[in-house]
Symmetry: C2
Subunit: 242 residues, 2 copies
């Protein structure tokens, strides 16, 4: 019945977000207290899933919110035309399971082997209404996601495919920096099609953009799931050149 003490930091539910209030330099991410993580662990369930598993479907009853402990997940929407749009890629300490009126707004699928925390929305709501500090962390997290979403909108507004792909790699690179790994080498757990569906480009355009960035000696696509950043300063310049 009793949970083990002090769950591993990687595996206990935790959230990644830049606070909206001014914070000390080292407080770049919000941190849950051990007690809060224990509370979340108590109401939640830890799941391990293989790649390509559908976690939930659009329009189904939204009974849970999910926190990524390890691995990568994509959320996507099916448009009436049959096209798939990837709303977001989620990594360690990200939350997903956005709902409206008790229904999920998109579908979610694992990209890699993932470890998730599945939190019952009803119990979580009760918990949040009793623990304002915990809720504040969630508020900060959702605010963080809102910022990310607005950034994505700006990204999508770019007309040039190479610029969009550069921004995407920069994004993934920032992600990778948080999870260690050799600098300048970025893992891409998603397929080219997923990247295209995320960037709002055709698959072919993504590939041509990748070729263009290699031609410019900014990036080197070592293989399908690995990019090396060859010239970070020039890449940053291209990313900023909106």
């Amino acid at each position: 019945m009793k949970q083990r003490h002090a769950p591993s930091p990687q595996l206990a539910p935790s959230l990644k977000a830049i606070p909206f209030l001014k914070a000390a330099a080292e407080t770049r991410t919000i941190v849950l207290t051990n007690r809060q993580r224990e509370q979340l662990a108590r109401i939640g369930m830890r799941l391990r899933l293989p790649p390509r598993m559908v976690i939930y479907r659009e329009d189904s009853a939204a009974n849970w919110i999910f926190a990524v402990a390890e691995g990568a997940v994509k959320t996507y929407r099916e448009l009436p035309s049959g096209k798939r749009v990837v709303s977001a890629f989620l990594f360690t300490q990200d939350l997903f399971g956005l709902a409206e009126n008790g229904r999920y707004l998109n579908s979610a699928q694992s990209l890699t082997r993932v470890t998730l925390y599945r939190l019952p929305l009803g119990e979580l709501t009760v918990l949040l209404k009793h623990d304002a500090d915990l809720q504040f962390q969630f508020l900060a997290k959702v605010t963080h996601e809102l910022r990310e979403s607005q950034r994505k909108t700006i990204l999508i507004n770019r007309r040039d495919a190479a610029g969009r792909l550069a921004m995407f790699v920069a994004l993934m690179s920032a992600e990778a920096d948080l999870t260690a790994g050799s600098p300048g080498v970025v893992q891409l757990p998603m397929s080219r099609s997923d990247i295209a569906a995320f960037l709002g480009l055709s698959l072919e355009s993504v590939i041509r953009a990748a070729a263009e960035l290699e031609r410019q000696r900014l990036l080197k696509f070592e293989n399908r799931r690995l990019v090396r950043i060859l010239d970070a300063p020039r890449l940053a310049k291209l990313v900023a050149a909106v």
Copy 2:
């Protein structure tokens, strides 16, 4: 305290959002209690501003969050290239003033004469940490904005200018429905340039798209600030045809 003496719904701070939990049909929007609105009114200040007034600038210290009581506001970003991107248009019961590390991420400007509530972020934070129910309403509101932002991303993904403009008019129409007004007639408090900057199109494309929608007898642009929806069903079909 008697409910009858409630402050005017239009003017007291209030928030508009569809809840993420399943709710009764009539509970389509969240409602603050009178007590909560009084608390917000106590720490906040009511402002009346003329059109075209800059409310805050990108990168300046984010000391306040704003709630629209009446009127229309736009938030926008200046890109390095000098282009302006309109992040959002805000109307009655919307919240704006998104910050990161104590700095605003965009600028805000009034489009019409507006009445705002200006809430000091520090005091609001304290209030939220003491009143979990109130905070929950803010959480719901930010979640709502996140959904809106994701919808906008999908909107922007459309390639055809006419489709984007149709979606925009549909959006404004949904907005107008909440604030009364004759059905089928939609006010556009923003300029064509603003619409273009919001939709990620050139000004000329917006105008041509408008002409195209008139040619198809879907809309009639009565004047620069007024559209009439001529054929709602076909408009809806075009909007959905993503």
